[in-house]
Amino acid sequence: MSQSYDRGLVEDFGRWTEFSAGMWAWIFHKFTGWVLVGYLFTHIAVLSTAMQGSDAYNSTIQGLEGLLLVRFLEVGLLAVAVFHILNGIRLLFVDLGLGLESQDRTFYASLVVTGVIVVASIPTFLMGKLA
């Protein structure tokens, strides 16, 4: 509910420093979801160069992949996707009414597992020849 005056420190969404696990999970899931849709649109746009012929496709992909920045962004994408998947699975369980008591622990687990997978994947993602 919006305030008719400034309520000082108590903002509309409370204080982020005081968020609990479930709220963070919600924020992160939202954020990662939006990044993923955004990526889906750009991804299809990039791939659509295929319609101009195989050369255009090859050069675009390889041009992009040749950039270190893109490689790092891909790692980011992986992180985002992995978290969204893991937390998504967590949410599916919650929807089935399973493991509600450990909802905070499963959230932390999602974070940790995401971290591990991302770190383990970095070499693979950054490997390959750069232009």
């Binding site: 939006w34 496709y57 090859n58 992909i61 992949e65 891909e74 996707a81 390959g128």
Partner: protein, 123 residues
């Protein structure tokens, strides 16, 4: 009360579909990542490779399904997210149709692209 029954779409359907698509996406997205980053390195992707894969009916179906499901899941997710934040009235209607249009365009593009990738031609 009657307005509750006037809709063909019970309110829970989209919620349910969001979960079902999510469950499907877990599988195909993981598969997709494995394919294009671990099995085949992203930097090595070429049109030839892509179209070789896309020519296999199973892979083709999986990828098209992946694309369309992701589109629904993503677009519906965005819409839900906004409604949850209290988006209402005109804004809500604009966003709804905007998202439907965007989703349909993206779906069409995915289908066309998949067709091209599988070696077809569209002109």
């Amino acid at each position: 009360m009657s307005e509750r029954y006037s809709s063909f779409e019970p309110k829970g359907t989209r919620w349910l579909l969001q979960r079902l698509t999510a469950a499907f996406l877990v599988i195909v997205l993981a598969f997709h990542f494995m394919q294009l980053h671990f099995v085949n390195h992203a930097a090595d992707v070429t049109f030839a490779g892509t179209s070789a894969r896309m020519s296999q009916p199973g892979y083709f179906a999986a990828m098209v399904g992946f694309g369309l499901t992701a589109t629904f899941h993503g677009v519906n997710g965005v819409y839900n997210g906004l409604v949850n934040q209290g988006l209402d009235g005109t804004g809500k209607r604009v966003v709804k149709y905007g998202l439907i249009v965007a989703g349909l365009l993206l779906s069409a593009q995915i289908l066309r692209l998949a067709f091209v990738m599988a070696g077809g031609s569209i002109s």
